[in-house]
């Protein structure tokens, strides 16, 4: 029988910060976020020593592309630069494009389930403002099939998710004006939610549905297909940490900190499916399927099944809104609506902050920001915050169970998790 996986807490950096402007790098970011994470769970680096002696602690680093952005690989080794307490602790970097944080979580959780670790520290990190937007877009192109989908394309991913918007429109036979207005509403909800989040990159930016719907203008330029700047997530510097624990460690932690064990959230379910690498193949494959992104849907179903739950018991969702079109498609992937009826959830207010199934109460990738390798960990941290009633101004009232979806590439890697209280 496998162990349960508990989530003790974690931290994230302020996604508004530009670390290059501050003259800092990914190591400065790693030091700060680790210190904050340890403080959040009231632990010190000294507490690692007995765990390290037993070989019962590990670090899992989610990162997409430090080689390009920071001219540095082998990030797993860099924990030893954070503090000498990390000497000897197994640590490695995990990569799956924008789902890098989730593959790191998955590796960490697997080790705990297998009984090999008592404490698994998951760090997601990306520093992106070291280069221009254009150069960064080219780096991101390596998350697609670079030779065929990104080489020579100015902004490869806006183009791919612009194609997703085209497919949604065509296959579901949607009214274009209404569909684009729905996408604008998704942007406005995410920016609006981010205003409540003190770590969100866009918390001070102006946005409204009216502006998001005012496309192809000087302040809302076209980036790919029908999508414009307001349909995109952000270029962000940021890191996030979550601490996962075995039942035994969680039990001791609960006693020491006088927190009832039933108040410590569990990672209840996971799903991981990989779809065809090329977007065109994905669309060919799904032509006769119910969902446009069937493997995304399947990853979510797998997570629900392992958690023994359904959408009915999920109180809120953190989804992968790298573009408004991706969030639109995932509404049905989560089962909030039937495929083709996603617009009903948007227009009825169901997914709004005060709705019955709030999506991205944090602000999502559009509002909070999208430091690529950190986003999965940030989502997991937000699930933790919501179900422990510690999300402050963006708390969803009464949240006990949440689900997240983190995708890599053009929905190639699909990771879903369910987190909740016992």
């Amino acid at each position: 029988m496998s162990n349960a996986v508990y989530i003790l807490g974690g931290a994230q950096t302020d996604f508004q910060r530009n670390w290059t402007k501050e003259g800092k790098n990914f190591l400065s970011m790693m030091v700060e976020v680790m210190e904050d994470a340890f403080e959040s769970v009231k632990m010190s680096y000294e507490d690692l020593r007995p765990l390290n002696t037993r070989n019962a602690v590990g670090v899992f680093v989610g990162n997409f592309d430090a080689e390009h952005y920071a001219n540095q690989g082998h990030l797993g080794g860099f924990l030893t630069e954070v503090d000498a307490s990390f000497y000897g602790i197994p640590s490695a970097r995990y990569e799956a494009a924008c789902a890098s944080g989730s593959v790191a979580i998955d590796a960490a959780a697997t080790k705990i389930r297998a009984g090999e670790l008592d404490l698994a520290i998951v760090l997601g990190i990306e520093i992106m403002k070291t280069v221009s937007a254009r150069t960064g877009a080219d780096f991101l192109g390596t998350a697609a099939y670079y030779e065929l989908e990104a080489k020579g394309v100015e902004f490869p991913f806006p183009r791919l998710f612009g194609q997703l918007a085209d497919v949604l429109l065509k296959r579901y036979r949607l009214d274009e004006t209404r569909f684009m207005s729905n996408l604008a509403e998704i942007a406005a909800i995410n920016y609006g939610n981010a205003k409540r989040n003190p770590k969100a990159q866009t918390r001070g930016w102006y946005m409204s549905r009216e502006h998001a719907n005012h496309r192809n203008t000087r302040f809302n330029v076209n980036v790919g297909g029908m999508l414009c700047a307001t349909d995109c997530s952000q270029v962000t510097d940021g890191a996030a940490v979550v601490m996962l624990a075995s039942p035994q460690f969680a039990q001791e932690y609960s006693i020491k900190r006088r927190i009832p064990i039933q108040d410590i959230p569990l990672l209840k379910g996971w799903g991981h499916r990989v779809a065809p690498m090329r977007f065109v193949r994905k669309m060919e494959e799904s032509e006769t399927a119910t969902h446009i992104l069937p493997w995304t849907r399947q990853a979510i179903l797998d997570a629900y099944r392992r958690a023994g739950t359904t959408i009915e018991s999920i109180d809120f969702i953190e989804t992968h809104d790298c573009f408004t079109s991706s969030e639109y498609a995932t509404i049905s992937a989560f089962g909030i609506t039937e495929p083709g009826l996603e617009y009903t959830a948007i227009e009825s207010g169901l997914i709004a902050f005060g709705g019955k199934k709030p999506v991205n109460p944090s602000g999502g990738l559009i509002g909070v920001g999208h430091p690529v390798g950190a986003s999965g960990v940030r989502m997991m941290l937000d699930l933790y915050r919501q179900v422990t009633n510690s999300a402050g101004n963006y708390q969803v009232a009464g949240a006990r169970n949440g689900a997240m979806l983190n995708i890599g590439g053009s929905a190639t890697t699909n990771f879903a998790f369910v987190v909740g209280l016992a």
């Binding site: 910060r17 003259g23 003190p198 001070g204 930016w205 102006y206 009216e210």
Partner: protein, 436 residues
């Protein structure tokens, strides 16, 4: 919260006026009448307003106008936001115009960097005074969210609360209520330090002057810009107006630090007012080959010279530690280095803490208020954050005592908790310590 549908902005063509108009139209969704001296200037302001909030959907809510249109626009407005020149004569003349046309219940507020709100309120009748406030936005307002809210003896507390809610919830301002004291909170503390650094530049003019002081108090000490670069950006004339006001109207132990250095007066006399006039404490020259070079004013020779390459080992070590996110280490270096430059840096940090905490009670209520003001308004690390980085209240007290400056009661009364700085979750003090 107050329902504000129409706003008249007076002085809407500058950075402050146009950005405030943009913020009110965008976040507040209000119709904004943008008043300038002539219609062309008002139209320039309108374009700037859209650029500030990066949206042109607010265009329909913005109306350019001139002072001749006030008779028509003021009676239909819910709020008149005045930001004309920073002197009593100009503001009182405009207040007389506003009071002639405004209907009962209309809010009127002034963007002043430190004039007496009590005195400015006198132009209005009883209802007008109830609705009159100081709303000190910081420049540029789209990037700097601080707004100091100032009341006076005739203002209505319930209306002040409504305005505070509107500024915070609708316009996303970090609102701090301050007393109606000279320069309020931010400028009093900020300009104290900047002017004293300028005084030291004069005193140390043969050793590096302006360049030396900006190097000693560089961004590695916890600020987005060195102090005298900031003075240059603000404008030497504005700097003079603020410190003169503080010198004339305050009487605390820092009074002498508000005396304007002679070299700044000299530059003002020459019309060299800073960035806005192309030269001031610094100057950028463009050569025929397209090369640009930044020069600094040499107080001794009264000429602009190349910025000297100053090698300060303590500053280099502090920067190295910032790159490693070792912020406590930065403060240790500053506190332990034996050089004269590090001693000066310690003195200025001690002065910042001593003076910032000294105005608690007189100008603002709590240390959170002064922390918000300095972080959100000046882009300086908040004073309480230094206390933690120094190692706690006792060490902060020792730093201040070593500099022979008064230890403010608000600091010692706080006791020794685990963390002195309480705004870390919304204002990350570490972001102000910069290498560049």
């Amino acid at each position: 919260m107050r329902d504000i549908k129409t706003v008249v902005v007076l002085g809407a063509n500058g950075t402050m006026g146009s950005q405030c108009a943009g913020i009110i139209a965008a976040f507040g969704g209000a119709k904004v009448i943008m008043v300038a001296r002539n219609i062309d200037k008002a139209k320039v302001g309108l374009e700037r307003a859209m650029e500030a909030v990066r949206s042109d959907v607010i265009r329909d809510r913005l109306t350019p106008a001139t002072y001749e249109d006030l008779q028509r626009h003021i009676p239909e407005s819910d709020w008149v936001l005045e930001m004309v020149a920073e002197d009593y004569q100009a503001k009182e003349a405009v207040n007389a115009l506003i009071s002639r046309y405004h209907k009962p219940g209309t809010l009127v507020s002034t963007v002043s960097s430190g004039l007496s709100i009590e005195r400015l309120s006198k132009t209005f009748d009883e209802d007008g005074r109830k609705h009159y406030f100081g709303t000190h936005f910081y420049n540029p307002p789209y990037k700097m969210p601080l707004c100091e809210l100032v009341s006076h003896s005739g203002s209505d507390p319930s209306i002040e609360k409504e305005l505070e809610e509107y500024l915070h919830k609708k316009l996303l301002r970090s609102v701090v209520r301050t007393a109606d004291t000279p320069a309020f909170a931010g400028n009093r503390v900020g300009f104290q330090l900047m002017n004293e650094v300028a005084q030291f530049a004069e005193r140390y003019s043969n050793l590096g002057g302006i360049a030396l002081m900006d190097h000693i108090m560089g961004t590695f000490t916890g600020r987005a810009m060195p102090p005298l670069v900031t003075v240059d950006m603000v404008g030497l004339d504005i700097h003079k107006a603020i410190v003169d006001n503080l010198y004339q109207n305050t009487n605390d132990e820092a009074k002498q630090t508000f005396v304007l250095p002679q070299f700044i007066q000299h530059l003002i006399n020459l019309g060299k007012l800073g960035t806005k006039s192309g030269e001031g404490l610094y100057k950028t020259v463009r050569y025929a080959d397209g090369r640009k070079e930044r020069l600094v004013y040499d107080i001794t020779s009264q000429t602009y010279i190349k910025i000297p390459e100053l090698r300060l080992p303590f500053a280099a070590e502090a920067k190295r530690r910032i790159a490693l996110a070792d912020y406590r280490g930065v403060l240790r270096v500053i506190c332990e280095d034996g050089s004269e430059e590090a001693r000066l840096c310690r003195y200025f940090l001690a002065r910042y803490l001593s003076y910032a905490f000294s105005i608690i009670g007189e100008v603002i209520d709590t240390r959170d208020c002064i922390d918000s003001v300095m972080g959100f308004g000046f882009n300086w690390a908040p004073p309480s954050a230094y206390v933690d980085l120094l190692g706690g209240v006792d060490r902060a007290v020792r730093l201040i005592e070593s500099a022979r400056l008064p230890v403010p009661p608000a600091l010692t009364a706080a006791g020794t908790g685990t963390r002195f700085y309480r705004l870390q979750d919304c204002l990350d003090a570490r972001s102000f310590f910069r290498v560049k």
